[in-house]
Structure formats: structure tokens, C-alpha cells
Symmetry: C2
Amino acid sequence: MARRTKAEAEATRESLLDAAEAVFYEKGVARASLREIAHTAGVTRGALYWHFEGKADLFQSMLERVHMPFEELVEAIPDEQRAEGHLDEIRLACLQAIDRLERPQYKRVHAILLHRCEFFADINPVGMLAELSREAVAATLPRFEAARSAGELRPGLSAEDANQLLHATLRGLIHGWHLDTSAFSLAETGSRLVDQWFRLVSADG
Amino acid sequence: MARRTKAEAEATRESLLDAAEAVFYEKGVARASLREIAHTAGVTRGALYWHFEGKADLFQSMLERVHMPFEELVEAIPDEQRAEGHLDEIRLACLQAIDRLERPQYKRVHAILLHRCEFFADINPVGMLAELSREAVAATLPRFEAARSAGELRPGLSAEDANQLLHATLRGLIHGWHLDTSAFSLAETGSRLVDQWFRLVSADG
DNA sequence: TACAAAACATACATCCATGTATGTATAATT
DNA sequence: AATTATACATACATGGATGTATGTTTTGTA
């Protein structure tokens, strides 16, 4: 086929990523063929290999579209929700994360990352999840320490333990939700449990 | 090759399951070939197809070797650890689970189930995880309700919420550990966090 | 002791995925 | 206006995996 304009090329790139999301979600990454992804995007494998080096590169690029660093979550806290203390700021950021995880694209990509891909070639989803986890853990720890210094944390509970417990709880909550997203609503049940958790670890809970 | 005795046949079946564990763990389920599994077990695909219907059946059979129902965990609580109340019984059972999850076979199979398999053909690992989860949640709920009635639970915390929080925390803890099993020891860090958790939710914590 | 089925190994047919090489029309550049 | 690189499509070469059919001993059994 003929050469397309730059904007058109970018559009095919995006549609390839969209198609990858759909096909990865439906078939799993390993059983998804590049042929089907290209076909879903309305192009051929030629286009795919032009924009990406292969399945691994495609997968990686797909993930980069949904990265959400903790600081971004903090900034995304709406103005009407004013944080009362350090603990409360973490809580509100968690609620922001929960809110985003229910959005279709995040949900689908997360489902792929959690249950629809095995490590392959250069891409190691376990390592990627581990990296994201470390990033999040490192971002919240100083806030828990600040909360500790301010006396917001329950006596006998260290900042490190509270931090690890929070991430374990969130991770488990999200994984559990992804086991059956129709079983409960993240927005409702999830945020209620998160609120309960913060009440349990706060000094005046 | 010639017909083997019944005992020998059972031995090859077991060695095929062992090989499946090893190859699934190394390559992931989707990229693991039955040829390599058979070769690792020291036989050919003929033997594999004799004992199992295919990869799905092999996978399923592999999982059945490591199932651990909650009641079994309760019974496995050593005599020197006497449970003080309902909450404490749940706690001790959790510690039993943690203990088992560090054993090589459980650890490997769990790693496969969590991060090294995609759903395929008739087998749906997400559904299987969901089923195991439901089973565990259903097993602990009545105990939390008993704890609630006995006044062991923190005021303002329902049995349902406590139950969901526990399973979220455990699931997150285990998933997090599997992201990098060298990062921390489940036996040490895990049981410390579990103890902390039960302290947080208990009325006299 | 004979025989049928067990417990595999071997061979074959089929299919599909990946990677790369090559073709091609057009957008961008000079 | 001519040229070049772009943005793909098409074609080809290769390889490996699955499923099944068929062989081959030997074991359990009647």
C-alpha cells in the first residue's frame, strides 16, 4: 500500500496498540498471533513490524500507556477532598488509584499483566510488576514515616510494617477483584475496605 | 518400548508431573512443549499422551497434587500452639499456610499458577484461582463471625470486612513475595505482618 | 500357555507463527 | 519537479508444536 501521512501513521500505531490490548486480553499474550493483532487493527503484519520490533516491543509499548506513578495520584486528588494529615493523603491517593483501575483501559491492561501473560523473550512481566511495586512502596514509605513522627500511626506499629501491610492489602484487593470483576465493585467495596484499613492503623481509630 | 509394570507406569506418571512442574516453571505453560516435558521425564510424547489427554489435563493434574483446604491447615496446627479464641485459630492456620508456601513444590506450583500461565483451551487458571479463593473465604467467614460474637473483633469492624481484609492482605503478601522471593522471607516477614494484622483487628490490640 | 490389553516409542500429517526480504505508491524534501 | 525515504503490503523460508495413527514388547490374566 501507499505511504500514509505522519498523522495517519501515528493513528495506525495507536490502533495497533488498541488491537494488541484486545487480542492479548482475549487470547492471552503467548497465544495471541501478530497476524490477528494486525488484522484486528485493519492492517497487515508488515505495518506491525514497521512500528514495533516484535511482540515484546508491542507488549512493552502497550504497558507504557497506562503507567501511573504515585506522585501523579497525589496530584490527582480533587480539591474538595482536603487531606487531613499524612495518613489521609495516602488514603486519598489510594482511592484515586482504585478509581483509575476501574476505567476500561487500565482494567484491561491490568488484567493482561496479572493473568494473561507469561514471561517471554526479553519481556519479564514478573520483573515489571516487581519494579512497579518497588516504585510504589518507595513512594509511600516516607509519608508513613512522616505520619509516624506526627503520631498519626497506631502505637506499636512501625512505618515499615504499615507500609508493607498497605501494599499487601491493596495488591490483594486488586488481584482478588481481577479474579472476578463482577463479584464486587472496586469503587464501593474497595474504598470501604481501604477506609477501614486506615481506621485500623490510625492512632485515633 | 515394552509394557511396564503397574508400579513403573505410576512412576512415569509422577515423573511426568515432576517434569511438567520444572518445564512449566522454566518456560511458562504456553511456551512449554510436550516434547520437552516428555524428554525431561526421560520418555517420549507417546507416554505423555498415554497418561494424559494433553497439556490441559497435565496442568490440571499437576495442580491437584498441591491443593490445601483450610480445614486441613487448622488440623495441621501443632499441639504446642494452642489457639486462644477464634481469631487466634485463624491466625495459626494462616501461619500454617505460610509455612507450606515456602516448601519447594508448593512454591514452584504457586509461581506457575500466579505468573507462568495464561488461560488456554479448557483450562482457566483465573477461574481456578477464583474458586480456591472463594473456598478459603467461605471457610474463614464463620470463624470471624464467631470471633465477632465473642467480642474478639475491634468495635466498628464487621466480620465480613475483617474476612475480606484478611484475604486481601494474605493474597497481596503472597503475590508480593512471588514477585521476588529473595526480597524477604515469608516465614519471618510474612508471619510478623500477619501477627501485626491480627493485633490491629482484635478488640484488645 | 496363550492372548488381549497395557505402556509406551515411532512415524506421519497438518497447521500456524515468526522473521525477513522484497515490492510499491505516495508524502515529504530539496 | 525530481528524488528519497516512508509506511506499509506481499511473498517466502523456516521451524516447531500438536494430534493421531501405528508399531512393539511385555505384563497380567483366563
